[in-house]
Amino acid sequence: MSHTTLPAGGGSNFGPGSGGDVIKRDRSLHAPAFTPGYKTSVLRSPRFALVSLEPGPGENAGPKFDAKILAPLENDLIRNYAKSGEAVGERIIVFGKVLDETGRPVRNTLIEIWQANAGGRYRHKNDAYLAALDPNFGGAGRCMSDDDGNYFFRTIRPGPYPWRNHGSDWRPAHIHFSLFGDAFAQRLVSQLYFEGDPLVPLCPILATLPDKDAQDRLVAKLDMKMSVPFDSLAYRFDIVLRGRRQTFFETKPEGH
């Protein structure tokens, strides 16, 4: 990745590590709302243009989560729902760095993940897929990024599963993820896929993205060096959130 790292912005009233306004979201990097290849979007996509505004104090601030909310095994999905043994499936580590657009690590931010089990079945009251539940697998995980923005999970590789779209389409193996950053405007929910999965180019949901480059940014790469011998393969997946504009000159509010 080639990029320029900018110094942290000053003039903050939003706490340590933050700077000025969150930078405008580049919507060309995301899917449009209306993507008829993914049929459910047809009736769930606004027709009016979004109303664009600079972020205010509320959008530049955001919820804070304390690491104390996490139980010890929350980032280990092989063991965090174990009843009689460990979860069944191909053991993997998913790890990477959370950065913002300007290259700064996003520290101490909550990351939530959820996924199907090795057979492609979700532990959810509304999932009726015929693949069996694994009594030792819940499919939910959480962790906080560390002071350098690093995060890691241990889990099993989720199975692909069929869903009704153009008849039976198949989801590639994927892990859903959710991040907060330190501003409400940085919120991001997405899905990561696995390098080499033949279902990746066939996925109507991945195909909602504007180009191959955007799709590739959701594909985790096999990392043999970080794989644990005789234990787990490792996949690297870096995540980029919106950055903050440096405050070169302060515009002082009138009054107040």
């Binding site: 709302a33 993914y38 009736l43 769930r44 606004p46 600079e54 104090p57 959810h124 929910v189 959701l218």
Partner: protein, 193 residues
Amino acid sequence: MPIEYLKETPSQTGGPYVHIGTMPAFAGLEIRQDEQQHVIPGPGERVKLVGVVWDGSGHPVRDAMLELWQADSAGRHNAPDFSGWGRAAASSETGEWEFDTIRPGTVAWRDGKPQAPHVSLLIFARGINIHLHTRLYFPEDEAALAADPVLRAVEQTGRRATLVAQRVEGGEVPTYRFDIRLQGEGETVFFDM
């Protein structure tokens, strides 16, 4: 050569099983069962916010998940005694969601002028490729609503009302109804901020 920045990771739908990772007890997992993310404790006047997310054919979006972000009663974000953040699942049967929170105070806008009291909402659901961002305003203070800089940024004046909740009679605490229409007649205003 232009300066290069990293590109934001693209968003994808939270999907129908978003609750597993965000509200696991609702999904049916036997973990974090005491969690009440739609209840936001803190000092101030308790209010209840209820509503339904509607699709373009007038049917409820029953797999929606909403997140709320607001200031405390003094207009502060990240106050030590109030998280300002919550999460609610639409009912799998009716699509109704509910937050139990406090009435927010007044937060200044960028120019220092007051915004009308409001909460910010994000909507996640199957079929929504990138979360939708809207605001729920309280109906009582009409002068504050008329002066609100964000409402005034909505050029089509008739659409501003889609952001104002309605007071519902009855209920133990002041209750407001806020219907979110994703598409069609009365489409809610969504922001890019």
